[in-house]
Amino acid sequence: MGNENRIINGLLKLHIAFCLLFIFAPIAGSFVFSLNSDRFPSLPLGEFSTEWYRLIWEDSLVWQGFANTLVVGVTVAIIATLLGFGGAYTDFRYNFIGKSFYLALALLPPTIPVVILGLAMLAFLSRVNLSGSTISVIIAHGVMCSPFAMAIIRLRLSQMDPDLEAASWNMGGNQWQTLCFVIIPFAKPAIFAALFITMAVSFDEFAVAWFVSGLNETLPVKILGFLQGQVSPRINAIGSLAFLSSMTLIILAQLLLRSPEETKS
């Protein structure tokens, strides 16, 4: 295209910058405010302070929430990835009557508003006497996270040469051996990526967890509690730490997905 217009392209770039600023200002702001002495930060900013981090460090409730988050996150990641792998392989390998129903059931949860899912889960789980426990959060997050795991692993499987499986069968491998020695090794980067990403999703999920968790609150539910109570920049400190841990997981997942050849061994 020869007739590129510099001014228009410049404006478009400016617009992208504006969008990114809009998206990232609250995230960056939260970091800055977490290290700022003011309770109600404004311009000009107050002094540098690690007071809020000290407060959460000393808060046993925060530690309790963190422990719950970690237990839920790790368990959910494993369950969601196992379920997601099964679903992804089923979609990859088989055709059957009712497959669209199967896929809809597997992939729809993220499109249901969290308040509705939360209410439905609360009503249902308390009926079967499971609400108000860590298990109820794990169940709910398993539902919400497995679609992500399934999508990630399914994408990787679609990159696989379908002849690989056939070759393994021709050489006498049964279905289980093919699964263990051909498919799982091939999908390994995606499996780890799915573990990390589902863990990150569970770490940040607060709404459904808030409905079903009862007294076993996860950290995001604690933040919700802080928000409803007094204004406290402790939220920023917790949020910044949570962001760093989520980002670590995402970057690990990205590295795994981007250069599968190096991590294949």
Partner: protein
């Protein structure tokens, strides 16, 4: 493949099916069931009563909240789509492959930050003595009231949906046939006309679906209306959390939730029908 299912295939496919049937479909069906139950002595009792439906659907408070939620979500979806389009256009048509990959990665980051923390941070930005008003003050403007009103709610909803909308729009624009654009330009179609007569119609399905997602997310969001809008008057999601958290009137909350699902399904159906209609005409 029409063979009978093997043990192997069942072991792989069944766990997900069973899990989602038990913990996803059953709760939703149970929600429909309890909307017909009654509450006596703070206990839900199985029943087949339309009292909850009658009570919710005849109340002005519900319909006010319904209308408010519709207007807010529609406005948020429209504004987000309009803000996102120039950005998606520039990403899809003006950037190198490497820059594209980077910006897509950057746009995925917000999904893994706590929406709550972002909203709390926005409170600090938007409050009367907050960062934005202080910055405007240096320019001799303001202060503007940006919290506890529709403006605050919509800003929050845009924060939630903008990254997703840009990503979905970018993916759909990536599939627009580049030859069409060149053809349009060879026929001396102006730049702006190329965008609206060639690019937008070819990417229509993706653009509509992006707006639909923005609508769904905004319609169900309770955080922005609560913490940036002040929570009063309520939206439908706030009604659900209020009713649920303040007692045992879950059947009434279920009615509100089912009305929301019906609305979302209707809107999604209408949007998808619209997206695929007249395609290729």
């Amino acid at each position: 493949m029409t063979k009978r299912p093997t043990l192997f295939s069942l072991i792989l496919s069944m766990p997900l099916l069973v899990w989602q049937l038990m913990f996803f479909l059953s709760p939703l069906l149970f929600l429909v069931t309890i909307s017909f139950w009654t509450v006596r002595n703070f206990q839900m009792q199985p029943d087949l009563s339309f009292a909850n439906w009658g009570r919710i659907l005849t109340r002005g408070v519900f319909w006010d909240a319904y209308l408010r939620t519709m207007v807010l979500a529609t406005a948020a979806a429209a504004i987000t789509s309009m803000i996102a389009f120039p950005a998606s256009y520039a990403i899809s048509f003006k950037m190198s492959e490497k820059a594209k990959r980077w910006i897509i990665f950057v746009l995925i980051i917000p999904f893994f930050t706590s929406y709550l923390v972002r909203v709390y941070s926005l409170q600090v930005f938007l409050s009367d003595a907050g960062v934005v008003n202080a910055a405007l003050g240096y320019l001799g403007l303001g202060p503007f009231s940006m919290l506890n009103n529709a403006f605050g709610i919509i800003v929050g909803m845009i924060t939630l949906t903008l990254p997703l909308v840009i990503l979905l729009q970018t993916f759909s624009l990536n599939f627009v046939n580049r030859d069409l654009i060149e053809a349009a330009q060879n026929l001396r179609c102006g730049r702006l006309r190329t965008v609206f007569a060639v690019i937008v119609p070819s990417a229509k399905v993706g653009l509509v679906i992006a707006a639909l997602f923005a609508f769904i997310l905004s319609f169900g969001d309770f955080v922005s209306p609560l913490y940036l809008g002040g929570g009063n008057p309520p939206t439908l999601s706030i009604m659900i959390t209020d009713i649920t958290k303040s007692g045992q009137q879950w059947p009434r909350a279920a009615v509100v939730a089912i009305m929301m699902i019906i609305t979302l399904l209707t809107v999604a159906f209408a949007a998808i029908t619209y997206a695929y209609r007249e395609r290729g005409k």
